[in-house]
C-alpha cells in the first residue's frame, strides 16, 4: 500500500515539475513585449572616437526628469516622435560651449512609459531625477541635446565613481574609475586632438 502511494506521489511530482517547466516557458513565449522603438545607435570603439563625436561633454545633476513630449525633429516631415526629457544642472564642462550652473534640457528617444526605446528600456537608461551623470551629447539646432547612444553616452556617477550597466560603455562597466581619472583621460584626448588641428 505504502509502495503504491509512493508511486502515485512520485508520478504526480514528476508530472507537476514538467508542467511547471512548460508553463514557465509558455509564459515567456506568450507574455509578449510591449511596443517599443528599436533604434540603431552609433558605436564608439574608443574614448577618442566618443570624445571626437560629442559636441558637448558635461557632468551634471538631473533636476527634473521623465517629461514626455512629442517633438518635431525632422525638417522633411511634420511627424512628431515621442521623447523623454530631463533638465540637467551643469557642474562641469569637459568639452563644448556651456556654463557651469546652466540648466540644459536633454532628450532621450521614446516615451519611457508607453513606447520606450528598447535599448534604453533594457538598460534602465532613462535619466532619473537627482542622478548625477557624465554625458556625451550631440547638440542640435532648436531641439534639445541627446546622448550619443544609450549604451555609451551616459555614465552615472555614484560616490565619485563611474557606474554603467552597459557592457559597451567605455567607462564604469568593469572598472569603476573615479570621475577625476575619467575627466583626465577625456581631457588628454581633447588635448592631443587640439594639437593635431
Amino acid at each position: 500500500m505504502k509502495k503504491f502511494f509512493m508511486t502515485i506521489l512520485r508520478s504526480v511530482a514528476s508530472v507537476g515539475t514538467v508542467f511547471l517547466m512548460l508553463s514557465l516557458a509558455a509564459c515567456g513565449q506568450f507574455a509578449g513585449e510591449q511596443s517599443m522603438y528599436h533604434a540603431d545607435y552609433p558605436y564608439f570603439s574608443s574614448i577618442d572616437e566618443l570624445t571626437a563625436e560629442a559636441d558637448l561633454i558635461i557632468i551634471g545633476e538631473t533636476v527634473s526628469a521623465n517629461n514626455v513630449e512629442k517633438l518635431k525633429t525632422s525638417s522633411d516631415s511634420d511627424d512628431a516622435l515621442p521623447y523623454t526629457m530631463c533638465e540637467v544642472r551643469i557642474s562641469q564642462v569637459i568639452k563644448g560651449t556651456a556654463e557651469v550652473g546652466e540648466i540644459i534640457t536633454v532628450k532621450q528617444f521614446g516615451d519611457f512609459k508607453k513606447m520606450p526605446d528598447s535599448a534604453l528600456k533594457e538598460l534602465d537608461g532613462y535619466i532619473k531625477k537627482d542622478s548625477t551623470n557624465l554625458m556625451f551629447l550631440r547638440v542640435f539646432d532648436g531641439v534639445p541635446s541627446e546622448p550619443l547612444s544609450p549604451y555609451q553616452g551616459v555614465v552615472s556617477i555614484e560616490n565619485g565613481k563611474l557606474v554603467s550597466k552597459s557592457k559597451y560603455s567605455l567607462f564604469g562597466f568593469e572598472n569603476n574609475e573615479s570621475v577625476e581619472d575619467a575627466v583626465d583621460s577625456i581631457g588628454a584626448v581633447i588635448e592631443i586632438r587640439s594639437k593635431g588641428d
Binding site: 515539475t17 509578449g32 511596443s35 540603431d40 525632422s74 532648436g142
Partner: protein, 177 residues
C-alpha cells in the same frame, strides 16, 4: 522517500539542461514584435539608395523571407528623414496581432536618419537597413554570442552588411523552417 527526492532532482536537472542547451545553441534572440509573415510588402518612399542591396542580402539567405515592393494602407514603409536625433535607423512595429498591443506585427515602419547617414558609405547604410529588416524578421538586438551578427550594436557597419549564419538560424526558428 529518498528515491522520490532523487527522481524529482533528476527531472529538474534534465529540464534545466534542456532549457539551457536550447539557449546556448541559439545564438540569436527571438524578437516577438517582428512581422507575422516572412513575406514583407514594403512601400519604399526613400531608402537612401540601398533598398536593392538590403533586399538582395536577405534574398541570398537560406530562409523563406521575401521583400517585395508595394503600396497601400496595409504595407510596411521605409522612409528617410533628416532627424535631430542620435540614431541611424529605427524599427517601429505597427498593427500588432493581439488587441493591437502585443504579438507579431502586421506591418512596420523603418526610418533612416539622413542627418547621421548622409556622409556614410552605401555599405554602412545597407548595414543599418539590413539590421532593421532583421527586426522585421523577428531578430532582437545584441545576441551577445561573440559571433558576427547584423543585430549587434558594435558591428562594423562599414563591413558587415549581411545576415550571418546566426541571424539566418534565428529567422528560420521564427518562421518554422
Amino acid at each position: 522517500m529518498h528515491r522520490m527526492i532523487k527522481t524529482i532532482c533528476i527531472i529538474v536537472v534534465v529540464c534545466l539542461l534542456f532549457a539551457t542547451s536550447g539557449a546556448s545553441a541559439a545564438q540569436y534572440i527571438y524578437y516577438d514584435s517582428g512581422l507575422r509573415s516572412p513575406i514583407v510588402v514594403v512601400n519604399v518612399i526613400d531608402a537612401m539608395g540601398v533598398f536593392g542591396i538590403a533586399q538582395t542580402k536577405w534574398h541570398n539567405t537560406n530562409t523563406c523571407v521575401q521583400i517585395v515592393q508595394g503600396t497601400g494602407n496595409d504595407v510596411s514603409t521605409i522612409v528617410a528623414e533628416n532627424l535631430a536625433s542620435s540614431w541611424y535607423g529605427c524599427y517601429t512595429p505597427l498593427s500588432r496581432e493581439h488587441l493591437f498591443f502585443w504579438g507579431r506585427a502586421y506591418k512596420c515602419k523603418i526610418t533612416l536618419n539622413t542627418q547621421l547617414l548622409a556622409n556614410k558609405s552605401a555599405t554602412f547604410r545597407a548595414s543599418v537597413l539590413v539590421h532593421e529588416f532583421g527586426h522585421a524578421f523577428c531578430l532582437d538586438d545584441n545576441p551577445s554570442s561573440g559571433n558576427l551578427s547584423i543585430m549587434n550594436y558594435d558591428r562594423d557597419r562599414n563591413y558587415l552588411s549581411w545576415p550571418t549564419t546566426d541571424d539566418i538560424a534565428g529567422v528560420n526558428y521564427a518562421y518554422g523552417e
